[in-house]
């Protein structure tokens, strides 16, 4: 029985090869570095990028189909679609004439910055335009992963249940805008808009709120106005830096 030797076969009193190393490294450091690279490229390309998140079935794709159809004539628009499987969503976007890249995450539950960087390389040039990233339908995991977007938009449907912001607070805390979709269904499902907004502001007092219907087009003018406001905000610091 040897009680002395360490794995290197040495035994020096008070000199164990065992040691503690302080490293203090962010677990998400690698993703965050790639997200920062994406963000720099998007700024260079004068591109406004939104990361759309929601539970499955809230209507992200229907919302995008309408939005890209109505925006594509005024500036370049592209879409990156994330799903575990199928290219159904990218097919729906492409049917509008707008370029789309489908990312299949397989077993993955979220998009990460490297996937988005690679998908962006495969899109045609979108300089001066808008890129929508439709994340995997999941109100948990995508909250943690920065993709390099200007901001996250959480899509919430009137049929989802008013307390979703309390049940999934991280996503609502990480988002700048809550889009309440399927507002045309509100009377049928007894949707309480005030309560939803109250819950959302419990977890994020700064979250902005708009109501839309991807089916009827209600509220989209206000959504576009919000998008142009973001575009102006993104350009301002660059403009201010000019002599």
């Amino acid at each position: 029985m040897d009680c002395g030797a360490d794995p290197a076969g040495l035994k020096i009193a008070g000199m164990s090869s065992e040691r503690t190393i302080r490293i203090e490294r962010d677990i998400l450091g690698k993703n965050n570095r790639i997200a920062a690279d994406n963000r720099a490229r998007f700024l260079t390309d004068d591109l406004l990028v939104f990361n759309l998140v929601s539970s499955p079935g809230a209507g992200k794709t229907s919302l995008l189909v309408r939005a890209v159809s109505e925006l594509k004539d005024s500036r370049p628009v592209g879409v990156i679609e994330g799903d575990q499987q199928t290219s159904n969503d990218a097919d729906r976007i492409r049917a509008t004439g707008v370029p789309a890249i489908q990312i299949n995450t397989g077993k993955g539950c979220h998009l990460d910055a490297a996937m988005v960087g690679e998908a962006y390389r495969r899109l045609p040039p979108l300089k001066g335009g808008i890129l929508f990233i439709e994340n995997v339908g999941n109100l948990v995991c995508p909250a943690a992963f920065d993709l390099g977007e200007a901001c996250k938009i959480v899509v919430f449907s009137t049929a989802d249940g008013e307390d979703k912001p309390l049940k999934y607070p991280y996503m609502f805390a990480a988002s700048s805008l809550m889009l309440i979709n399927k507002i045309d269904l509100a009377p049928v499902v007894d949707f309480d808009s005030a309560k939803t907004i109250e819950y959302a502001r419990c977890v994020n007092p700064n979250i902005e709120v708009l109501t839309v219907s991807a089916r009827t087009g209600e509220g989209f003018a206000a959504l576009y106005a919000w998008i142009w406001k973001q575009a102006a905000n993104q350009r301002r610091p660059v403009g201010d830096a000019l002599p």
């Binding site: 360490d6 794995p7 503690t20 190393i21 962010d26 677990i27 943690a144 991280y170 805390a173 007092p205």
Partner: protein, 113 residues
């Protein structure tokens, strides 16, 4: 299960440090996890064992230092502790809170051989 992806990140960090600092075995991985971060410490421990198998971190124990959630209350102008995102200020009941701490997810130290 984004904890799997995060654990892959931890293993990558450990492998990089092993190359840089020449160690061959990791006994303990010490994490700092904030109460308002995106992970549950128990889920991290569970996933890490699976992800670390057959890597340099195989068999390493995960230790978690839990950090409190801290927010600035805009209503009463002070720093307060909160355990969850949907909690109001414990002093005045306001939800006008700006989170200032507790979102950390760090590999703090490694105990190595």
């Amino acid at each position: 299960m984004h904890e799997m992806a995060l654990c892959e990140g931890i293993v990558e960090i450990v492998e990089e440090e092993a190359r840089r600092r020449s160690f061959s075995r990791v006994k303990t991985v010490c994490l700092e996890i904030g109460a308002l971060s995106h992970v549950a410490p128990e889920a991290m421990k569970f996933c890490f064992a699976a992800v670390a198998a057959r890597t340099i971190a195989d068999g390493a124990v995960i230790e978690v230092i839990e950090l409190p959630g801290v927010a600035w209350c805009m209503a009463c102008s002070r720093s307060v502790e909160i355990a969850q995102r949907d909690e109001p200020c414990p002093c005045c009941g306001s939800y006008q809170l700006q989170v200032t701490g507790g979102e950390e997810m760090l590999v703090k130290e490694l105990e190595v051989d």
